[in-house]
């Protein structure tokens, strides 16, 4: 079975993760631009970060047979540094339409401040102008109200709900999101956002229409195999293959594919890798390591497929 993880921060992950993800059947990933655990203080840090998402990280993923896409945006936390946010807004038009950029993201609310609201709205307009999907990060605190507000503002800015992926949903927000016609993404993240046993129950209750599973694995304690593990658990719990395929693959492709930058043929037509390639005179191989060259295979075996 093939999987897409449409929300994962690979710049924080290791090559072991890439190797395990590929073995588990992940063929494509989307890396949203986000905050790096501590605030950036200079515009150049944003520029180089965006450049790495379309450059080195994409190449690194390719070396493990995984197709890497990204979304570009100013995250809500850093929108609160208004002087810097203003400069980042001027930088975004240079990046959001580059090849392999499948949306504006992850944007939205954190503390739901006035500054967050301002830059969220400006980025919605930018996404609309560029005809790109939007990936919304919903807040950890005051989540339900923040989620509804994110959608109301998107509608106010005349975005089509079908172009908006609302992320980090839970049992309390899913109905509102689906009823309004938006895509509802769920982040399987140990001990905080969603566990995959709960995810199984959500798919049992709401079906597979417009529901998407991701890992949002990053620099925190998280699991880059959350999507295949959840698929495996769904299978055990009697959810149909068709439904699993939709929430762990097809819906991610259909929603972000609206950018025109992500097609199944991108990973179906060429399944061979060549680790002897280089980019910027750099290679993922270190002294004495042998490159893997040739056809790649998948072998989904997990220590445990339960994420609580």
């Amino acid at each position: 079975m093939r999987f897409i993880d449409p929300h994962i921060h690979m710049t924080s992950r290791t090559t072991d993760d890439y190797a395990a993800m590929q073995k588990a059947g992940i063929v494509a990933i989307i890396e949203p631009a986000f905050w790096l655990g501590q605030p950036r203080t200079e515009l150049g840090s944003f520029k180089d970060y965006y450049s790495s998402l379309i450059g080195w990280e994409r190449f690194r993923a390719s070396q493990f047979g995984i197709k890497h896409y990204c979304t570009i945006g100013l995250n809500s936390k850093e929108a609160n540094n208004e002087a810097l946010a203003e400069e980042v807004m001027e930088l975004l038009p240079l990046f959001i339409c580059k090849e392999g950029v499948v949306g504006v993201g992850e944007i939205g609310y954190d503390d739901q401040t006035a500054a967050e609201d301002k830059y969220y709205r400006l980025q919605l307009d930018l996404a609309k102008e560029a005809n790109l999907p939007v990936q919304i990060h919903t807040p950890h605190r005051d989540k339900k109200a923040g989620t509804i507000r994110s959608m109301e503002v998107a509608l106010e800015h005349k975005l089509n709900p079908h172009m908006v992926i609302v992320d980090h949903n839970n049992e309390e927000t899913v109905r509102d999101v689906l009823e309004r016609g938006f895509w509802a993404a769920f982040t399987i993240y140990p001990n905080t956002k969603m566990g995959n046993e709960r995810m199984v129950e959500i798919v049992k209750q709401y079906g597979s229409e417009r529901i998407i599973v991701n890992s949002a694995a990053d620099w925190g304690i998280s699991d880059p195999l959350a999507v295949p593990k959840t698929a495996s658990l769904m299978l055990e719990q009697g959810i149909s293959i068709d439904d699993i395929h939709k929430v762990c693959y097809q819906n991610a492709l259909d929603s972000f594919g609206q950018s025109g930058q992500m097609k199944e043929s991108d990973w179906m037509d060429n399944t061979s890798i060549d680790q002897s390639q280089k980019l910027f005179n750099n290679s993922i191989l270190r002294g004495g390591q042998l490159p893997t060259i040739g056809e790649i295979r998948t072998n989904p075996i997990f220590d445990s497929n339960i994420i609580r």
Partner: protein, 296 residues
């Protein structure tokens, strides 16, 4: 410097573009071009410049011989032989930006360089010979030849008259050496013969010695920029070439001698009357060596 030929250049590029592109793509480009034309801050250029492949595709152009000649007449050395539709669109947008103020113009263009992905870099560097205020981009182009991305390097170094017209001697020499170093043909470097110099000849000779010491060979094309600067040191390399078992090395040595006014080089050439005759009759030239080097 080139602003007087800008309108005709844009018209020529549009003619190439419209032949290859769909009507929707042509419409998109025209709309964006009009926006860029009236842009005061350059911002109107950023989105369409990066979005170009999404709207106009990335197919490679097929130019007729006549069109290639037209390009060269328009701008000496301009060779859009392997250009793609997105590259054409991007170049048309760059040329449409108001350029009366050199500082503002170059600031906008350099911002594009600073955030560019690979395809954008190729388009930007290959467009350099067409841009107004070429002197503003010398540092950027010099930095560009340090790239490790093969196609970006080729966009600067090959089929591009910009380096020969703008590079310092040090940058030019690095570029020629790196072209050989990365296994590309010197044939496509515009202005190679005009800008050769004694320091470059010394560097190339040193490089050959390094390779020989390691038991490796060098491309016979290497001796082309060396020929006019043969001296008492380099003549020993030429003798070594004549003494080799390789026919192409004999030919390269003869061609190098034919370019030289150094008496000993002339004497060496006279010892190879057949090669000398072939050169004087035009049967043997550096293109011939390049062809052999490529197929070897």
């Amino acid at each position: 410097m080139y602003s007087n030929i800008l309108p005709t250049t844009i018209a020529f590029l549009e003619q190439l573009f419209n032949r290859q592109a769909t009507p929707e793509a042509a419409k998109w480009l025209k709309e964006k071009k009009d926006l860029v034309k009236s842009s005061e801050t350059g911002k109107e250029l950023y989105l369409p410049f990066s979005a170009a492949p999404r709207y106009v595709g990335k197919s490679t152009l097929s130019l007729t011989q006549k069109e290639l000649e037209q390009a060269n007449q328009l701008r000496k050395g301009f060779t859009p032989r392997h250009w793609t539709t997105d590259q054409l669109a991007r170049t048309i947008l760059l040329l449409s930006l108001p350029h009366e103020n050199a500082d503002n113009y170059s600031k906008t263009i350099l911002k594009l360089f600073g955030t560019a992905d690979m395809g954008e870099l190729v388009a930007l560097y290959a467009a350099l010979p067409l841009l107004p205020h070429p002197e503003k981009f010398v540092a950027q182009a010099t930095e560009g030849i340090r790239t490790n991305m093969g196609n970006v390097y080729e966009a600067i170094a090959l089929n591009n008259p910009y380096p020969s017209e703008n590079f310092t001697e040090a940058a030019w020499n690095q570029m020629v050496l790196k072209t050989i170093f990365t296994g590309k043909s010197l044939q496509k470097i515009y202005g190679l013969d005009e800008r050769t110099n004694s320091d470059l000849a010394r560097m190339l000779s040193d490089y050959a010695h390094e390779r020989w010491a390691a038991g490796r060979t060098v491309t016979p094309e290497l001796w082309r920029p060396v020929g006019p600067h043969i001296n008492q040191t380099i003549i020993r390399d030429i003798k070594k070439l004549f003494a080799s078992q390789n026919e192409t090395e004999h030919e390269a040595a003869a061609l190098a001698c034919a370019q030289s006014g150094y008496p000993e080089a002339q004497a060496l050439l006279n010892q190879h009357p057949l090669l000398k005759l072939k050169i004087s009759e035009g049967q043997l030239n550096w293109s011939h060596i390049s062809q052999k080097a490529i197929t070897a």
